[in-house]
Point group: C2
Chain length 648, copies 2
C-alpha cells in the first residue's frame, strides 16, 4: 500500500505513464486502451450529456458509403471524407451516409437522434439544385437483416434514431433536372445530435400528469372567477388576487418556460447551432453538359402483380380504387426507367400481361402508351383467361385502335411464361395466328429457359433451347431467354444470337428470376450492390435489345396494407420483390423502393450511356468481377462524358 | 373481356375457387397465398388500424421461448402456449416472450408499440408472487447482432417498440423469495398493442403550438385579473366574467378533454380493455418446498476491472465516487451467486485482486467478507504493484485481522494470472513464503494452462501441465486450470486430479476465457444458450471445487459512461464482458446484465442442486450434447425436488 493512501487496501496507480496498462489473459491476452477511438473524452464528463454543448463529432461517427454498399448494422466506421459525384442531366445519383453512435445521449432507450439537414447545392454561377425537390433523404431499413427498404425521411422533421452499437444508413439521392445548367455544384449536409422526439415530449411538451395538474388548476381558477352574487367589492378583489396567484403558478409550469423566449417555430436548428456543433459532410456534384434521354435506349419491362394489389389493398377488380392503385403504381415505377406491365397468372403459367388497365379507346390509354418514359407496353390478350366471343371481339377492337397509333411500335403481347411442352407451344401458335390476322406486325414475347419437352428438337438440352426460334417462328418476335441458362459460359450468347433473324424483326431479350445465383448478377437480397447493378450492364455487354423481370411486388398473400412483408416460399429472398408497401413503414401510401430498385436505375443509366457509345461494346464485362468492373466502367463513363462535354 | 366489365381491358377474376391462383415463374415457380398466416383479414380493413378496436392477436405474433434460446430478429413465430416453470425458493427462473408484428399499426416509422403487463402470480391458498418485486421484465437488445443485453423495462410504462419484419424478445424473470410458501402459482401476462409514445405525444399530449396558445391565454387571463386600482365594482365583475370566459375556452382545449373523465392515472389499461383486446400468456410456476442455500455450494469467483470502472466513469482512485462505484458493482453482482473480486493487472500478468476495497479494519470489510452470499474472497496483496515497506506492513496487518475471523476460511490470494516461466514461479514462491509467515494456513490461487517454460518438468506439454502442483506445492493451494487444456479429452480430468493432495488442503478449480471454443461450453457471444449454461454444469460433472472467470466488464477503453461498448481486439466477442454499463441504454446507472450472465446464474442454480445430490455425479454430461442434456438434467432436477418434497 502506498503511503498517503491509507484508506485503500487496493493500492494506488503505479503503472508508469509510458507503458500502457495491460489487462486480459495470456495465451492470447489483449491490450487495454490501444483502440482509443479518439473520443474527446474529458470534455464530455461523467454526467448526462448535453448535446447542445457538445460537438456532434464527439457523439457519433459519420462517414459516406457508395450506393453499392450494403451498410449493415455492424459496419465499422471510416474517416469522413468529402463526397464527389458526377451526373448527367436527367440522371439520379445516390450515395449513403453511415452513422454510428460513439456514446448515448438520449435517455429513452436509444443512443440518440440525429437531425440531417441538407443545403441546396449551388454552382459558382448561382444555379441551384434545391433540397427536397432534387435532393431526397431516405433511411435504409433492413429486410431479413439485409439493408434494403428505403423509407422516406419526413423533410419537416428530418430525424432518425440511432441505437447503441448499431450503424444506421441514410440514402441520399440527387436528381438532376433536364434543364439544369452544367457545372460544379457544392453544398453541405449537417448532421446534428438532437434530443429524441421522445425526450422532447417528456421534457418540452406536457406529459399526462402535467396536463391533469393544469386542468385541475384551470378548473379551480374558474371556480374563483365564476360569476355569482358577490357579497362585497373586497370579496371581488380577493377573488381577482387569488385567481392571479393561481395563474402565475400555472405560468411557472416548467413545461411552459420555453414559450416565453421562443417564437414557436423552433423545430429547425438555427445556423449558429449547426455551425458550432454539427458534423458537416461536404458534397459536390459535377453536372455534365449532357442529358440522359427521357426514353430509355432499351426497354426493360417489369411485372406488377395485379392480384397482390387487389389482395393487400382490399380492392375489388375494376372499382375506382383499383384503377387508382394501378395508376399509382404505374406512375411511381416509371421514375426507375422501366416499363411496367400488370400481370395475373392463369393455369399452366399462361399469363395476362397489360401495361394500361383502361381499354384502348379510353383517354388514359393514349396517355399511358404515348408517355415518352415508356419504352414498351404489353397489350392485354384478355381471352387468355376467359375465351368468350366478347373477349375476342374486344381484343380485335383494341388492336385495331392501337395499330393506327405512332406508339404501336412499342407494343408487345406477353402470353405465356416459360412454355414447357409442345401443347403449350401450340397454344402460343394458335394465339399468334389470331393476333396476326388482326395485324400482321404484332410482336409476341415468349420467355423460355429450355426447349419444349416431348419434341425431338435437338440432341442436347442446350441445343434444344437454342433451337426454340425454329419452333416459334413466326409466332414469336421477342425471344426472351433466361440468363440462368448461360451458367458460366457467357460465350454461348453467340449461339443464341446466331439462330435469330433480325431481318424478320426478331429480337433477343433476356431475363433473370430465381437464377442465375451468386456470383452472377441478379437482384436477390444479400448480393453485393455491384451484382445488383451489373444485371443491366450484362444486357448491354451481351447485346440484347430488351429485358424482362417477372415481378416487382410479389410478396406472400396478405389482406391488410400494412401486413408484414413475407417473401414467397421457394424463391430466393428478394426475388420478385423490388419495392414494399409504404403502409408497412409509416402512414404513407407511397411505395418504398428497395436499394435493389435504386441499383437497377443506376445500372439502367449506365447501360444507356454505354449503348450511346457503341465503341465500348468490346470491353469484357465479366459479371463475377463486377466489383472490379464498377470502377473500370466509371472511369470509362467519365471518358464518355468528357467527350460529350468537349463535343457540345 | 367479360360481359358487364366493359370498362376494363384487363379481364375479370375467372379462376375457380378450388384451384388457388398460381403466380411466379417455372423452373421453381411458387404458389401464391398458400402461407396465409391466418390473419383475421377483412376485420382490419384497408384503412388506418385502430388498435383499440382490434384484437392484438390480429396485430402481432406472441409466443414464448426458453431462456436458453437466442431469439434473433429473424426468429419465426410459433404457436402461443402456456408457460410452465418450476423453481425452488430462493431461485430465479426466466423465460422469454417473443413478439413479431403481423401488421404495422403505428404511424411513426415503427410497426407499433406493445404494452406488457403481468399480473401477480397467485396460489390457490392466496399466496402471491408480486409483480415488479418478484417478476421483472427486460427487453433483449442485440450486441453485434446477437441478442444479449437485458435492458430493464420501466414498470411505470412497460412498453416496447416493434419494427416491421423483426422479432423482439422480452426476458421475464421470476425470483422466488426464500420464505415463499410452496405450491402452484398462476398468473397471466397481457400483451396489448398500443399507440406509440410518439403517436401519443402527437395526439394526446400538448404539441408545441398548443402550449404556446395556452401560454398566451394564461398571460392574457392574468392581465385581466392582475390586481390594480379598480374604478368600480362593475369593472371587477366585468374582469371576473372575462377571466371566466377565457378559462372556459382553455378548458375546452381538445388536449385537455380526456382529463375530465379520467382519474389522472390512465397510463395503465383498465381490465376491460385488456380482457377484450390483449393477447394473454398464461403462466404457472410450481414453487418447490425446498430452498436453494443463500451461500453457493461452490465458489465461483469473477473479476471486475477496477481500471475500466475508473476510466469509463471518470473516477479517481480512492475518491468517494470510486468507493461508491465499486460497492455498487459488488452488490449488483452478488445476485448472480458469484463471488466478485476487483482486479488490476500489472506487468507480466501479475495481478492485484481484492474483493473489498476497504481495509480489513474498516466496518465495510466485515460486512463484505461476512456476507453469506459470498463464497470466497480475494485478499489484496498490495505489494504486487508497489513493493514498499508501508505496503508490506499494511498487508501483514490485513492478514492478522482477517485470520482471526470466522470468514477467514473463504479467503484466498490471487497473485499471478497464468505464470509462464520459472522466474514467475519463483516470484509466486517468494510471495507465498512471505504470506505463510503471516499465517500458515493462507490459500494461494494460481491459474495456469501449461507448465513453466525453461524447466524440464516432463516430456510432453500435457504432462508438464499436469505436474505443476509438484512445482508449486506448498506455494499454491488452489490449482486453477483452464478447461481449454482438456480439448475433447474430458477423460484427462483424472490425470489432473491424481496429482493433487486434498489431504494438504489442495483444491482443483477451473476457468474458461478465450478457450475452449465452440462446441465446448463457454460464455462467448453467439454460442447457444445451453453452452452458456453448461459451463457450471461441467464444473459439477468434473468434480472441481471452485471456478474462476477473469473479467465481467472488460470492454475496450472509454472515458464516458455512455460510450459505445467495444469488445477488446484479439478476444472472442463477449469474452470478459458479462454486463454492460446502464448508461449506454438509458439514463439508469444500474448495470445491464447479459443473457449470458443470467444463464450463468441458471447454470449455478442447477449446479447447486446437482452438488446436493451426489448420486447424480455419474451421469455423463457431454458438453457438445448440451441441448439434449438440458432436457435430461431438468427431468433429473424435477426428480430431486420431488424427493425433497417427499422428505420434508
Amino acid at each position: 500500500m502506498e503511503p498517503g493512501d491509507s484508506n485503500s487496501a487496493a493500492g494506488g496507480k503505479t503503472q508508469s505513464a509510458s507503458a500502457p496498462p495491460v489487462e486480459g489473459v495470456a495465451g492470447g491476452g489483449t491490450s487495454y486502451g490501444w483502440v482509443d477511438g479518439g473520443l474527446r473524452g474529458t470534455s464530455l464528463g461523467a454526467g448526462v450529456i448535453d448535446h447542445t454543448k457538445v460537438h456532434s463529432e464527439d457523439l457519433l461517427h459519420v462517414w459516406s458509403m457508395p450506393s453499392t454498399a450494403n451498410v449493415s448494422q455492424q459496419e465499422a466506421p471510416r474517416p469522413l471524407e468529402k463526397v464527389n459525384l458526377l451526373a448527367a442531366r436527367n440522371e439520379r445519383e445516390s450515395f449513403q451516409i453511415a452513422l454510428r453512435p460513439k456514446v448515448s445521449w438520449s435517455t429513452s432507450g436509444i443512443a440518440g437522434s440525429v437531425q440531417i439537414q441538407c443545403t441546396d447545392l449551388c454552382s459558382s454561377s448561382g444555379d441551384r439544385l434545391v433540397v427536397d425537390q432534387s435532393i431526397t433523404l431516405r433511411r435504409v431499413v433492413p429486410i431479413l437483416g439485409v439493408p434494403d427498404a428505403l423509407v422516406p425521411i419526413d423533410p419537416l422533421s428530418p430525424q432518425i434514431s440511432l441505437y447503441p452499437g448499431e450503424t444506421a444508413a441514410v440514402w441520399v439521392s440527387l436528381n438532376v433536372p433536364c434543364g439544369q445548367p452544367p457545372g460544379l455544384y457544392e453544398g453541405e449536409i449537417f448532421i446534428t445530435a438532437v434530443k429524441t422526439e421522445l425526450d422532447s415530449s417528456r421534457t418540452e411538451s406536457l406529459p399526462k400528469s402535467e396536463r391533469y395538474r393544469l386542468y385541475r388548476e384551470l378548473r379551480s381558477c374558474l371556480d374563483i372567477t365564476e360569476p355569482r352574487d358577490y357579497s362585497s367589492p373586497e370579496e371581488m378583489v380577493q377573488r381577482l388576487t387569488s385567481a392571479s396567484t393561481t395563474l402565475r403558478r400555472m405560468l411557472d409550469n416548467p413545461a411552459l418556460q420555453d414559450c416565453q423566449e421562443s417564437n414557436g417555430f423552433g423545430d429547425m436548428m438555427d445556423e449558429d447551432v449547426m455551425n458550432n456543433v454539427s458534423v458537416r459532410l461536404k458534397l459536390s456534384l459535377t453536372v455534365w453538359d449532357f442529358t440522359l434521354p427521357v426514353t430509355p435506349s432499351l426497354p426493360a419491362v417489369f411485372g406488377i402483380s395485379e392480384t397482390v394489389i387487389e389482395d393487400r389493398f382490399c380492392l375489388e377488380h375494376g372499382t375506382e380504387g383499383w384503377y387508382d392503385a394501378l395508376d399509382h403504381h404505374f406512375r411511381w415505377l416509371l421514375q426507375f426507367r422501366i416499363s411496367p406491365f400488370f400481370c395475373r397468372w392463369g393455369d399452366s403459367m399462361r399469363i395476362l400481361a397489360y401495361t394500361c388497365p383502361w381499354p384502348a379507346d379510353h383517354p388514359k390509354a393514349n396517355e399511358y402508351y404515348s408517355d415518352p418514359r415508356l419504352a414498351a407496353y404489353a397489350v392485354p390478350y384478355a381471352p387468355i383467361l376467359s375465351c368468350t366471343d366478347a373477349a375476342k371481339n374486344s381484343l380485335r377492337r383494341e388492336v385495331e385502335i392501337l395499330k393506327s397509333k405512332p406508339h404501336w411500335s412499342k407494343a408487345y403481347f406477353y402470353l405465356w411464361d416459360e412454355p414447357l411442352n409442345v401443347e403449350q407451344y401450340d397454344m402460343i401458335c394458335n394465339i399468334s395466328n389470331e393476333l396476326r390476322s388482326y395485324s400482321p406486325d404484332v410482336r409476341i414475347l415468349t420467355t423460355y429457359y429450355c426447349g419444349p419437352s416431348g419434341s425431338e428438337l435437338a440432341p442436347s438440352t442446350f441445343e434444344a433451347f437454342v433451337k426454340v426460334p425454329n419452333v416459334l417462328r413466326p409466332h414469336t418476335q421477342i425471344f426472351c431467354t433466361s440468363e440462368w441458362v448461360l451458367g458460366t459460359r457467357e460465350d454461348l450468347v453467340k449461339d443464341i444470337v446466331a439462330e435469330l433473324r433480325p431481318d424478320l424483326g426478331e429480337e433477343w431479350w433476356t431475363y433473370v428470376c430465381m437464377g442465375p445465383s451468386d456470383p452472377q448478377p441478379n437482384w436477390h437480397l444479400g448480393m453485393r450492390g455491384t451484382q445488383h447493378r451489373a444485371v443491366m450492364w450484362r444486357v448491354w455487354k451481351e447485346g440484347g435489345t430488351g429485358f424482362l423481370y417477372w415481378g416487382t411486388n410479389c410478396y406472400e398473400k396478405a389482406m391488410i396494407p400494412s401486413a408484414e412483408i413475407c417473401f414467397r416460399r421457394g424463391l430466393p429472398p428478394g426475388d420478385g420483390v423490388l419495392f414494399y408497401p409504404g403502409e408497412v413503414f409509416s402512414s404513407s401510401h407511397e411505395p418504398v423502393a428497395s436499394t435493389r430498385l435504386e441499383r437497377i436505375l443506376s445500372g439502367m443509366q449506365v447501360m444507356i450511356l454505354l449503348i450511346m457509345s457503341p465503341r465500348l461494346r468490346n470491353i469484357h464485362i465479366k459479371s463475377s468481377q463486377s466489383a472490379l468492373m464498377s470502377r473500370r466502367v466509371f472511369v470509362i463513363l467519365l471518358g464518355i462524358s468528357q467527350r460529350y462535354l468537349g463535343a457540345c
